[in-house]
Symmetry: C2
């Protein structure tokens, strides 16, 4: 190890933690664990700094360091700069990555083929018609006879190409106008924002269009945040970036974040975390897209109501207090510069409209990407199993919706072996009779954990093989040598440490299984109750659209087997992935979708489950595999001879 | 003199110059003159720092100082902290006022009596109907049955009182909404901005209206800047403040400022100077008005096209280059926070529309305050004799306008004895046969100089008594002992130093007189040419409205005598004062006036004099008292037996 630079003791060192960009100064010879705690980051450590539990693992990205060796760390990881923070002294300025919060590269199912296939089926439109457009004009030079102002001559030429009643101009664009209309013999490219027949010049450049004009679509998820940079002229997705929501350090679900944000300081902290994360994603995606962040003039966000409030630095407490009222559900546009977004400062920012405190813009946007609202007669059901579960039933004529606290288990959070559908995640898994697992990993790496679809598979396989009973308890005689008992209680060995990425056994505990069952029970019982309220049975539903962060490979058969989805004809189900992001993308693409999503939000009737006493009964009944009332799952009963 | 605080030599001291808020750090024992030069302030000094010319006079407002005595400084001024900066060493942090740029308190002719008299005569309306209004609402608390968002419940209540189609909300107001609608049992006061049936919430507070909502009206003059703080609910002017335009240090007229602003740095400097001055005036007027600057939600500015460009940090060079084209003439609204104005950050900012490079918002706004545009038949003429002279002829059906470079002589700049119509200015003056002056001073103090009306009087009196000839040259035999010869050439003694405020002789030089004659010639010849272009003679004009910074006491008879105004029936003339400010005030008062001023601007046809060869002929002819063609001034010929 090379010697660190000499410093006087008083100076101390700066440690920068990624992905949060949290920077702290610490005295020399502090441990990295101490530095993380100074920064307020929740690095776990259960062995008291002895280097045995291995939970305080971090990766040194930059800077020189010295660390003591630990038996719990495989050489492979040591070579990649991973250290146990409790055994590592700070002797230089360091940049340190926290693996559990590190950038995740989440695959999205938006591909040109997919779009092509669904173009004519979904509720939204694929017509490229964003409210921002680039117009090339030839502005005649002024003369003594035609000495109208630059803006007037601009308006005159624009009027020949577009129906302009009123023309406004961003202050920053006005400052560039005189040069723009003169530098290239009057050839001028303007970026315009349209609202009816009123137009606003957002930007202006001399010459022919030399660069793309872009928008961004971003899903502000409770657990993950995903962002596309979009070419507004052809709808092409030029760059994608994603991250775990850094607010996770202050609570895994919206309720705990609302609780945390009760005071202005912590609220501001959560706001800064999400704005910082989004800005980081903008940078990253723009870089991939080879565009400047200043070329982004439109930003379409979707997120649940709490996320929208935190994103806007609005106190969310009344969302949680009866009668559960948000500050706002919808507003036309915000200004990027007011929010501190790292796009063009004049960019217009749209948030998909919410219906209420527990059905947010992620759902209304998501509906744009289902065929649900397209049909005037057929009745469909839409389930978004995110950290919160939201359900919508109806068609073009009517829509009913409800929400439940599902928990982030299927998004890969809240279970020890779970992770988002990112590189290293097991997305499909089968168990042999011996319990040995055969699986498929995203990116074909050693497995780091399981994403939602893998967890559904695993739960189904454990159940089918009788390794767990209908209550989700292990059946020790059958599990054989895969049955363990670690510090969190009974567990099942999925893969041995020597074959995993982190070099540690990959296990699922009984507590994890209970968590998964609670999540599926919350969703299924909400589904059952919503249909009851609508006076419908499952059979009357023509189509089930499932959204959520399961990953691309959700196995419908297994989802029915564990009782997450109802036992119906398999061809009624479609798994659509991150519909919130896809909806935000559609809104970015076409202003017609923005108006449509408003209509959708207006038409939705919200059913409050929190105050319905029968919900708890339904929920308790669903805490079994697949359900207490096995009659609800005839095909499962038959297959498993229950 | 008490000893200054001990400082080490290295530290140096801070010197703050008012009214510019220019702060410089200088080494100890620098002179104040050196400090002023470091700050880039144009303090004159013609004796080379010997303390004899007395031109580098400054006033120490704060801080300890030591100065050497000078014979040129009266004891009275020494007592008030005045020193010669070349004789004063910097030995402490100092705040220093520059007398020639100090705050001027300019009387305006807006008084409730005046308004009352003119209410029904002017082109604008006095109906109080600004686009900003305060509304008190009782927002019902949310319940499980009525759990609409805060904004939705707000909109519902607002809809009962106002025709609301679309409701938008400033981001900052949205952040306050949840608490505002809850804190006082739902009683909420909102400040709203109206545009058609689309409304924007600018601010929101819990409880009944506790404070005023204000606007401001500001005339951005080339030489002086005057500002009113206005109660938007009753139109009352709550506070007034004024200052010399600090851009004066970079040029006295718009042409020299355009020249100075050719590079981005100097442009930014001029922009910062005017924004700083306006913010200073806002502070001052708000303090007088006993309101918070945050209660100012609307700002109406009027100024010539160059001033508007400098105010907005827009490069003005194309205003000056043929074909004289500004960046813009009119735009609906700017945001105070984009411009860095010290009002409420959400305040809407309006600039009165310009017609072109040389007829700006000061003229269109000014026309609101004349009866010119009211009448569909009678033809009137409007002359604004500011630093630029602008003229308008016409009625409700048609308007023709032109501009000329008058120079700031009648505003008190550009002549040695001139000053704005502020305290200490001689506003009326008569000469006795001996040449002794009898005069009236604003504020009844010792005279500091003469404002425009005083200068017109003085020129007329010098002419009537034969002290100057028709070319403006002194007639030495007649002037007797009042005739001097100082370092600027021949001069006439108006008042002796022992009776003046600055302790120095008040004189008018032949150069000053030439300057005044050039100014009146520019205006009169433009007037003559404009009428020619309109195919009219003076006799066909029903009314002459005169605006400008002459002061309140312009003597029409004398103005005709010197050939500034045409020789017509005296009752056709009205002197209206600062119509630009009055127009900005009217726009602030009522949105109808804002629409009206747009109509006015649209209807105006601009006549370019710069390119008209006959203008120079007309101008040369007018460089006499009253004019080369004495036939144009029959009453003067008769009175003076010319």
């Amino acid at each position: 190890m090379p010697r660190p630079k000499m410093r006087t003791k008083k100076e101390g060192f700066k440690v920068r933690f990624l992905p949060f960009d949290a920077v702290v100064s610490v005295p020399p010879y502090s441990t990295l664990l101490e530095a993380a705690r100074t920064a307020g980051l929740p690095l776990k450590n259960s062995c008291g700094g002895k280097g045995t539990c291995g939970k305080c693992l971090v990766q040194i990205m930059k800077g020189r360091y010295e660390t003591r060796s630990s038996a719990s760390l495989p050489t492979r990881l040591i070579k990649e700069g991973y250290v146990l923070s409790c055994l590592t002294g700070v002797q230089d300025d360091l940049t340190v990555g926290l693996p559990q919060f590190q950038e995740v590269s989440i695959g999205t199912i938006v591909s040109s083929r997919f779009l092509e296939e669904h173009k004519n089926a979904i509720s939204g439109t694929y017509k490229i018609d964003p409210p921002i457009e680039k117009v090339e004009l030839d502005i005649p030079p002024p003369s003594l006879e035609n000495n109208a102002s630059d803006l007037r001559r601009f308006k005159r030429e624009l009027g020949k190409k577009r129906p302009v009643r009123e023309l406004n101009c961003e202050y920053s664009a006005l400052q560039k106008l005189a040069h723009a209309v003169r530098e290239k013999d009057g050839r001028t490219t303007a970026v315009l924002f349209r609202s009816g027949d009123s137009w606003t010049v957002l930007d202006v450049e001399p010459g022919a269009p030399g660069k793309k004009i872009c928008g961004l679509a971003c899903d502000l998820g409770t657990t993950t945040v995903v962002l596309h940079v979009v070419d507004l002229e052809n709808g092409e997705i030029l760059g994608t970036s994603s991250t775990l929501n850094p607010q996770l350090v202050r609570g895994e679900d919206v309720i705990s974040r609302i609780q945390y944000a009760r005071k202005p300081g912590p609220l501001k902290e959560l706001h800064d975390l999400i704005i910082g994360a989004v800005n980081h994603l903008i940078d990253e995606a723009a870089q991939t897209a080879h565009v400047s962040v200043r070329d982004i003039y439109y930003a379409s966000f979707s997120g649940n109501t709490t996320m929208a409030h935190l994103f806007l630095d609005l106190e969310p407490r009344f969302i949680r207090e009866e009668p559960y009222v948000p500050t706002f559900n919808e507003l036309p546009f915000f200004l990027a510069r007011d929010l501190g977004l790292k796009t063009n400062p004049a960019a217009r920012v749209h948030l998909a409209p919410a219906v209420g405190s527990y059905v947010g813009g992620d759902i209304t946007a998501g509906l744009l990407f289902t065929p649900l609202y397209r049909d005037p007669e057929k009745i469909s059901l839409f389930i978004d199993a995110g950290t919160n579960g939201e359900l919508v039933v109806g068609n073009r004529e009517w829509l009913m919706t409800c929400a439940c606290s599902a928990g982030p288990a299927f998004e890969g959070s809240g279970t020890r072996c779970g992770m988002p559908a990112a590189e290293g995640a097991i997305e499909k898994i089968k168990l042999e009779g011996s319990g040995r697992a055969v699986y498929q990993v995203i990116g074909n790496t050693r497995p780091k954990g399981l994403c939602g679809s893998g967890l559904v598979d695993l739960l189904a396989e454990l159940f089918v093989h009788g390794f767990v009973d209908r209550q989700g308890k292990f059946n020790p005689p059958k599990t054989g040598e895969r049955f363990l008992h670690d510090d969190e209680g009974p567990a099942f060995l999925i893969e041995e440490g020597e074959n995993t990425f982190w070099g540690k056994d990959l296990v699922i505990t009984e507590r994890d299984i209970a968590n998964l069952i609670r999540t599926k029970a919350a969703i299924f019982s909400a589904c059952l109750l919503l249909l009851k309220k609508a006076g419908l049975t499952f059979d009357e539903i023509d189509a089930f659209y499932i959204a959520g962060g399961f990953g691309q490979s959700l196995d419908i058969e297994n989802a029915i087997l564990v009782g997450l989805l109802p036992d119906l004809e398999r061809n009624k189900f479609s798994y659509l992935g991150n519909t919130s992001l896809l909806g935000a993308y559609l809104i970015c693409l076409s202003d017609e979708n923005r108006r449509l999503v408003m209509d959708i939000a207006k038409k939705m009737t919200y059913i409050e489950l929190n105050t319905d006493p029968s919900y708890m009964n339904e929920y308790t009944g669903a805490l079994f595999l697949p359900h207490t009332q096995i009659d609800l799952f005839p095909s499962v009963r038959q297959a498993l001879h229950l």
